[in-house]
Amino acid sequence: MAALTTVLRPDVLVLRPPRRTVSAALFASLFLALVLVAVLAVPLATRAQSTSVAGSANAGASGDAARYSAAVATEWFRVVLPAIQQTPGQSPPVAARTLAYLSLGLYESIIAGIPGQRSLTGQLSELDSLPAAQPNEVLHWPTVANATLAALTHMLLPNAPADWNARFDALERNMPVAQSADFDPAQRTPEVIIRSETHGRLVAMALMTWARTDGGHDVLGPRRVRLDSQYVSPSGPGAWVPTPPRFVRPLLPNWGSNRPFMPAAQQRCAPSGPPHYDESAGSPFYREAEEVRRVSVEPTEEQRRIALYWADDPGKTPTPAGHWAWILTDLLRDRKANLAMAAERYARMTIAMSDAFVATWKVKYEVNLLRPVTYVQLVMDSNWVPPLMETPAFPEYPSGHSVQSGAAAAVLENFFGSDTEFEDRTHNDRGWGPRRFKSFRAAAEEAALSRLYAGIHFRSAIDHGVKQGRCIGAQALALVTREAH
């Protein structure tokens, strides 16, 4: 009779025919006993290390993710943000969604390695479950994170230019060497590597399965393009119409119908609405338009700089969500945050920003308000155009910049303090930075106001937008990630 013996190295399968001697039988039995002990001892040992409370599905898997630096995460974001800039279709709302799924994937993939933390499944819309790490599985969290982020990046940016795909592959491949401090070979046995990468990819695949049903998937695909081409703008006094110079069709008119991450945030944070549309001089609406025109006819040098700094145009920058992700990335690096902290912060902030865009687009197309250039040309000065930039091709109220900056700032304040000075290096490469801000709130308000200076938003859209954004940020902060005791 043949006995099949395996050792702990699954790539080596050893078939040992038994010796027909008593000593051989004894030897075999002893060996079996040793094997059994080894197999049982390892998870026991790791469980002893864990401080998780009974009841958690992933009790004491393998080490604390907080022991590792945030480098894996921050390195991926440092590559993904410029990639977003160069990937077709990554307009501001789309880019925000991309960053949110990346961050959520990161968080969920290492959740088992954050003692006392729980998954966001059950709290996010229609997300019931994700693959959990096996309780007795040793995983190396940076490896997991690396695999998850790599897989998600490829799936979220399938049409990134070829050179970026090569960079993604190189980053994933070289991460263990580049971040050797986090990638201890003693910990990263081949089995651990395989299990960690498998787990990371499983989480990524499951997350994408969920992501593909949110309405925002494959923005450049034929279904979406046809759906958007069937949209007909409402008509009437104050209604949005295409704006000069290119008079383009409205962008992503159905984005507001996407499934948000947080089911209740939209209703809870709905803005109050713009002033009543009125073309008569002296009316509140007229006065807001007059403010836009006056400020942008002769902007100060400071105003010009601010308008351009926060423009965050797609194709030229990582977009507004990318701007704040850049800020967070630098904060995490400067403060030498650990992987667990990084995952939670990225997740909350990017979820807040993505939902901010969905909520903004929903209101934009419901209210369907015309842009300042249309109103000013009709009512005040037929030759006026915003001097600093083209009006974006979608309705005015509220201001997307204001909502998403308000959301991002609210989340960052919570983690880093409300009066924390910080340095923004997002546009260093363009020669516009760094810029220091007294607080996250101050930066968000400057980002919001930049749209007035640019001549493309009324005051109400900005003020209400920041408020709406802070509310959405608060909703993201209210997501429960600690286990109940």
Binding site: S229, V232, G236, A239, V241, P242, F247, T374, L378, S382
Partner: protein, 555 residues
């Protein structure tokens, strides 16, 4: 033998050829060629820049059609000011500051008419207050702009409970039907805008807005005139002189399925009836872009000119006034205008606005056809000049645009022949897609510095009490030199372009004329709803008031 034949051929050529050449050439004006007198050609001077008109009609898909102009006197000066549609650009209002009889001058003014997404407009006094209002056709909501006097306008959709909808509105016509105080409005719509990828077969319904009951002006909710076949021109016209106009709709065969030209009988309190083959209405499928009408043969029944791609149509009644059965006499009349007459492009034409009017004041109706490529359609003429076809007593028309100096090689769309400087000679406006609108001054037989009318003329403004102040639906008759010329007062027609003000009539050599009006509702030969004959002196503008009679018109 061969040599003999060759010599004979040469001899024939020597004697016959000059005769052939002579017969083709346009004889000097006034000389008799055959049995007819050749019309004298008026001169037009391009005064777009000098007049200060800077208006462009721009836009993509939804602005392939439209591009109209409205001319109307909004300040009592007697000189029509201009509203020019802009497409994606704002529409513009140009106040007429021309010197009477002199150079054209327009000043852009803020009149409340600065609107987005405009395709064209028609002036009409909707509320009967004596001040012209403006119906604006748009991509999106149609807007009724109420005239406030002194060339200021305000939106009145809500005031008049007018539901402007959210359609691609490309045509308009209005009439006061029966004894109704307030007008019935008909809007032509084009294509369902949500079907941009595949518009064929997606024409939308036209809209009929009847006046609501009551003394104040208001409109009932829109009634869908089905089926819609992508209308680009409409007019209410009394085709059979029964006193009740019918609604003619010209449709673009490019986008409809199983469609045709349409004639609707629309009467108060009765369901609209679409004339069919059984009524005598023969199916006709054209790329209908514009429509104009005139009594060309003196019978009192209007002929209809329909613009299209390649051949245009000129329809006259074929079986009497009892049936709307028409036959096409475009070829016989020389008005097919199916390809460019100049410029060297041999592809077929695309014609848009058309208008019957007397541009040389010789008493014979002429025909103005605005043309231009749809966009960059390679199978149709790219250099497609607009036509100025001069009519004569033999019913034939001759092309005179090059000689007249009225050459427009841009993508013409809407346009108008209208007297802009009060000198009795009809000037021209053309709105061009992706280019500037242009205006020309008619200087007759003279020059820009010394204009000289070719023939005598009359301009008559109609007036009556009640809601239908301008007597829309009335027929003006002018008798001079032993003939009666007729003009139907109407709101609609052309291509997205309209004017309402003086009815212009050329008198040729006659220095006096008799005028009268068959008021709205009058049948041909009506004895009751008709004014007495009034004597009028030539080269004057008159006001013919139903209650007060004929009087010289004063600003």
């Amino acid at each position: 033998m061969l040599r003999a034949v060759g010599l004979l051929a040469l001899a024939l050529l020597w004697f016959v050829a000059p005769a052939i050449v002579r017969s083709q050439a346009l004889p000097p004006p006034g000389e008799r060629a055959g049995a007819a007198t050749v019309p004298r050609v008026p001169h037009f001077v391009d005064e777009t820049d000098a007049a200060g008109v800077q208006s462009r009609f721009d836009g993509d898909w939804e602005y392939t059609v439209g591009g109209g102009v409205a001319a109307f006197d909004c300040d009592g000066s007697g000189l029509p000011s201009l509203f020019i549609a802009g497409g994606v650009n704002r529409s513009k209002f140009y106040r007429n500051r021309s010197v009477r009889g002199g150079a054209l001058k327009f000043v852009q003014e803020r009149a409340g008419l600065e609107l987005t997404s405009t395709l064209g407009a028609y002036p009409i006094d909707l509320d009967g207050d004596g001040t012209l209002d403006l119906v604006v056709l748009r991509v999106g909501e149609a807007i009724l702009m109420r005239g406030l006097g002194d060339c200021r306008f305000a939106r009145a959709n809500e005031l008049w409970s007018f539901q402007g909808g959210n359609q691609w509105t490309t045509a308009f016509a209005a009439a006061w039907l029966g004894a109704e105080q307030h007008p019935t409005l008909a809007f032509g719509t084009y294509i369902d805008r949500s079907q941009q990828d595949f518009p064929w077969g997606h024409c939308t319904d036209n809209q009929l807005l009847r006046p609501a009951a009551g003394d104040r002006l208001g409109f009932a909710p829109p009634y869908a005139l089905k089926p819609g076949y992508c209308a680009l021109g409409m007019m209410f016209s009394d085709w059979n002189r029964s006193g009740m106009p019918a609604l003619r709709v010209t449709n673009d065969r490019e986008y409809y399925k199983a469609g045709q030209e349409q004639l609707w009988r629309i009467e108060p309190g009765v369901e609209p009836h679409l004339f069919a083959a059984g009524d005598g209405w023969k199916p006709l499928q054209i790329w209908g872009m514009g429509i104009t009408s005139a009594d060309l043969d003196g019978t009192g029944y209007p002929a209809y000119f329909l613009t299209s791609m390649a051949d245009n149509k000129l329809q006259v009644l074929a079986a009497g006034a009892g049936r709307p059965e028409y036959r096409d006499i475009a070829f016989a009349s020389g008005v097919t205008a199916h390809r460019p007459f100049a410029g060297g492009d041999v592809h077929p034409s695309t014609a848009w606005h058309a208008q019957f009017a007397d541009v040389n004041n010789d008493g014979w109706t002429d025909l103005f056809v605005v043309k231009g490529n749809v966009g960059n359609m390679p199978d149709f003429a790219m250099l497609d000049p607009s036509n100025l076809l001069l009519g004569g007593p033999d019913g034939r028309y001759v092309e005179a645009a090059p000689e007249a100096g009225l050459l427009n090689y841009q993508r013409g769309r809407g346009g108008l022949l209208v007297d802009l400087n009060g000198d009795g000679m009809l000037d021209a406006v053309i709105v061009n897609r992706w280019d500037r609108a242009k205006v020309w001054r008619n200087v007759g037989a003279g020059s820009a510095s010394a204009p000289q009318p070719i023939g005598h003329w009359l301009q008559i403004r109609l007036r009556q009490d009640g809601g239908n102040r301008d007597a829309v639906g009335a027929w003006l008759e002018v008798e001079a030199s032993g003939r009666v010329q007729r003009r139907e007062q109407m709101v609609g027609g052309g291509h997205a372009s309209g004017t309402l003000g003086f009815l212009h009539v050329g008198l040729g050599e006659a220095t006096t004329a008799r005028v009268r009006v068959l008021w709205p509702g009058a049948k041909l030969g009506d004895q009751v709803l008709v004014s007495p004959w009034f004597d009028a002196a030539a080269d004057r503008s008159y006001l013919l008031d139903r209650q007060k009679g004929l009087a010289p018109w004063r600003p």
